[in-house]
């Protein structure tokens, strides 16, 4: 069937809505994004399918990332007239029991249950009908919307992740999908689409933060063979929202690209996706085929003369290819070296034609803006940063996961309310935003709202949204060294300031971490950093010193401890500390001695143990194993 009109979409939606909201069997949605699968979701899925294969009353389905990664594998079970219940940590041993309990209306295993959901309608649908609200909730199960991890979230880019089967286009349509495309194609002029995106205040979600509407308008102004590119080369370590969107809701990105193509006037689209994300590639291919089947991609889309094709290209592991000009060179089959942007890519980009490049999350935001209007989107957020942003919370934090919050929410709320703070009662030290191009933000700035300008004022950037929390066991000098080591590897090597500057800075930091730091090293790092910032060719180089400069700014005492006192207070830099057993705290349980791979720990049972410094390789196994904090860093 070829979709021609909004009515066609409505017909599909009517047919499919039931299975999403009030299925006539018990429906088991298992979160099957990469991280869910790594946590054991595939095994749970196979087990459930085998156990209920002949059972007409139960349907086992896959869905995308449900977001609460800490509690993976996540499983949601629902049925007509019954509460929608989200189960956590459902590994293969638990899945069959969880489903049986649900069938019998038993909700006694409280540790397995995350909560029940009350608002499953998507933001692009008619809000007058909420099938779950009509079902009386089950007493004694918390509401998901009231759990701190979810309560402050507003899901726009992630609207369908965890609700729909990403491999089924009908479910995307049932959540209001492709209606924005048909509206843009049939009821709006190109300029109206661009004006709506401008009015929304949407800015590039990949890191640069350039206003999307202005980019589209400039690209549309230039003549030539225009291309639409989606940057899915999510290289920032610690950021994985683009992967989750591609794995959980690939059609939202395809629809966003289609709308951009209508507005700008293009017939060729490209998705440049990381080779490290095989599942995302697989789901994109399925999605593109399905969209072609419905006549939403290809020639004569939805009965008009608009044509658009999408080609998927896979990257080959180069961080610098996230930079627009490098990405375009890579798409052309060349090495990914950036060029100077005297002429912007919106004028001369891919194959020297006008090119519009946006990130995955940016495109995923477009369809709701077209349906609900730019003013609706601009109603959320701060003066300069509108709408919502997806963050990946990771590192030393209790609730790791993906969260989507309105701009303007404070870092403290994200880390301590949604993220539930630092594990094992350790002390919070810093939160790192913006990946290798960003900075480390200390506790005194935690009340800062999430906003492009405000983060820049403290020396960091919004970036693509990775948020890595660091605690007392993280050495800030080592973190700075780590990022430069990363950037030294990833620098393309064509401009001197970046290639040589980063290497010199890294050498100094490596020396400091090895206990060979000298007086004046900090000042030299600052001087070199400012040179690299000013004279590098592309964004990789100009932002490279950020992690070093912000850690010097906020954690200078740690640098000084390394250089003057030859100590690593966090116990990371091996040359600058040793482990010791605190005889007062040691209970003589013997766990550390058993685990030590070097047999460096000995002692009588129930008496304080001793550590042989000559044998110790500082692997840290004893430090992690001790339950009594008796292994001290000296």
């Amino acid at each position: 069937m070829k979709i021609q009109s909004l009515e066609d979409l409505k017909t599909i939606s009517q047919k499919t809505r039931g299975s999403i909201y009030h299925p006539n069997t018990i429906k088991v949605n298992i979160g099957m994004a990469s991280c869910g699968i790594a946590a054991g979701a595939r095994a749970s899925f196979d087990k459930a399918e085998a156990a209920f294969s002949g059972d007409d009353g139960i349907t086992i389905c896959q869905t995308g990332c449900i977001g609460f990664c800490e509690q993976e594998p996540l499983v949601e079970i629902l049925a007509d007239g019954k509460p929608r219940v989200m189960y956590k940590n459902i590994t293969e041993e638990k899945i069959v029991d969880a489903i049986e309990d649900y069938r019998q209306g038993l909700f006694e295993k409280k540790k397995w249950i995350l909560g029940q959901m009350r608002k499953p309608l998507g933001i692009m649908e008619d809000g007058t009908e909420n099938p779950v609200a009509k079902v009386s909730p089950h007493e004694g199960i918390p509401f998901l919307e009231e759990i701190p991890f979810y309560s402050k979230q507003v899901k726009i880019a992630l609207r369908n992740c965890g609700y729909i089967d990403p491999d089924t286009i009908d479910e995307y349509i049932a959540r209001g999908g492709y209606s924005a495309l048909l509206k843009a194609l049939k009821k709006m002029k190109a300029k109206e689409i661009i004006d709506e995106v401008k009015a929304s205040g949407l800015r590039g979600r990949g890191g640069g933060g350039f206003p999307t509407g202005i980019k589209w308008a400039t690209c549309a102004k230039h003549d030539g063979e225009r291309s639409i590119i989606c940057n899915a080369d999510e290289g920032d370590p610690g950021a994985y929202m683009d992967r989750s969107i591609l794995e959980g809701d690939p059609h939202s990105v395809i629809e966003g690209m289609l709308i951009a193509a209508v507005a700008i006037g293009s017939s060729h689209g490209y998705i440049y996706v990381r080779n490290e994300y095989p599942l995302a590639v697989k789901r994109l291919i399925t999605a593109i085929k399905q969209a072609e089947g419905y006549g939403l991609l290809g020639d004569g889309i939805a009965g008009t003369d608009f044509c658009f094709t999408i080609k998927i290209s896979t990257g080959a592991g180069a961080f610098v290819c996230g930079e627009s000009t490098a990405l375009m060179a890579s798409l052309e089959g060349k090495v990914g070296r950036p060029r100077a942007k005297y002429v912007h890519t919106v004028e001369k980009g891919f194959r020297d034609g006008p090119t519009n490049l946006n990130n995955v999350e940016t495109y995923a935001n477009v369809p709701p803006i077209i349906i609900k209007g730019g003013a609706w989107y601009a109603g959320m957020g701060t003066e300069h940063s509108k709408g919502t942003k997806v963050f990946s919370l990771c590192g030393k934090i209790n609730n790791t996961g993906l969260v989507e919050v309105p701009m303007g929410v404070s870092l403290r709320e994200i880390v301590f309310e949604l993220g539930n703070g630092v594990p094992k009662k350790k002390k919070f030290k810093a939160v790192q935003t913006g990946g290798p191009s960003g900075g480390c933000i200390p506790e005194k700035f935690l009340d800062l709202p999430v906003d492009y300008q405000r983060l820049a004022e403290v020396g960091s950037i919004m970036g693509s949204g990775g948020m890595i929390v660091m605690d007392q066991d993280t050495c800030m000098v080592d973190v700075a060294r780590y990022f430069l080591d990363f950037l030294k590897e990833e620098s393309c090597g064509q401009c001197n300031p970046c290639r040589e500057g980063i290497k010199q800075m890294l050498d100094i930091l490596t020396d400091i971490c090895a206990g060979k730091g000298k007086k004046g090293d900090i000042e030299l790092l600052e001087e070199l950093g400012s040179m690299v910032q000013r004279f590098s060719l592309c964004g990789l180089g100009t932002a490279a010193p950020n992690p070093v400069l912000t850690t010097i700014l906020y954690f200078r005492d740690e640098y000084e401890a390394h250089i003057k006192d030859k100590k690593c207070p966090a116990g990371v830099c091996k040359a600058l500390f040793h482990y010791d057993i605190d005889a007062d705290a040691c209970t003589g349980c013997g766990l550390c001695a058993k685990k030590c791979p070097q047999d460096a720990i000995a002692g009588k049972k129930k008496e304080p143990h001793q550590l042989d410094q000559d044998k110790c390789i500082k692997c840290g196994i004893c430090y992690d194993a001790c339950k009594f904090d008796a292994i001290a860093i000296r």
Binding site: S34, C35, I37, A38, A39, R42, D46, C69, E70, E72, E234, G235, D236, P237, G238, A239, Y240, R243, N275, E276, Y277, P278, S313, T314, G315, A316, G317, A318, F319, S330, L331, E332, G333, K334, V335, G336, S392, C394, G395, K396, T400, G401, Q432, G435, G466, I468, T474, V479, Y482, F483, F486, E489, E490, C492, K595, P597, C619, G620, I621, D624
Partner: protein
């Protein structure tokens, strides 16, 4: 991941040129712009990039061998040396790093007696480090072939390696 492809072990320089030719024509329509993806396909087939395949490719799609060599050495995915039967990718992303990935890596160096990018003498393992595979919530993460091992403690390394022959 159960949908994982088994990594090929036939590591010889015997390149099947007919197969290669058909692939370049059919899957990639002989297009220069598909160079990176063609190289990925060759590496999937042979587990590395054999030189005869690259020289043939050069003539076939009209890209100088020097340019192909440039691409093959610029991108970190590609290997010009034969690799082991099992590929270990230790994630050194930031989230894994702050959770102790460095110690896991050191442990791997010690137990396998190889450095990053090297292959054990018996051809059983190749050790590679990658920057973020996007499973940050499970850090530190170690990927062996296509299997993800999350929340790896330093003392669990040997147990994981033991699962692979």
């Amino acid at each position: 991941m159960s949908e994982a492809q088994a990594i090929r072990t036939d590591q010889t320089d015997e390149v099947d040129f007919v197969e290669l030719d058909t692939m370049i024509d059919k899957e990639f329509s002989k297009d220069k712009e598909n160079l990176i993806m063609i190289l990925q396909a060759i590496q999937r087939r042979y587990n590395y990039l054999p030189k005869p395949a690259l020289t043939y490719l050069s003539a076939k799609i009209g890209v100088p061998y020097s340019k192909i060599y440039e691409v093959a050495t610029f991108y970190s995915t590609f290997s010009l040396e034969p690799r082991g039967r099992n590929i270990i990718s230790i994630c050194l992303g930031t989230a894994c790093h702050v959770r102790g990935a460095e110690r896991v890596r050191e442990r791997l160096h010690e137990s396998l007696n190889i450095a990053d990018g090297q292959t054990t003498d018996d051809g059983r393992f190749t050790l590679e480090s990658v920057r973020c595979i996007g499973c940050c919530s499970l850090g530190p993460v170690m990927k062996v072939n296509e299997d993800m091992h999350g929340r790896i403690a330093t003392d669990e390394v040997e147990k994981v390696l033991g699962q692979y022959e």
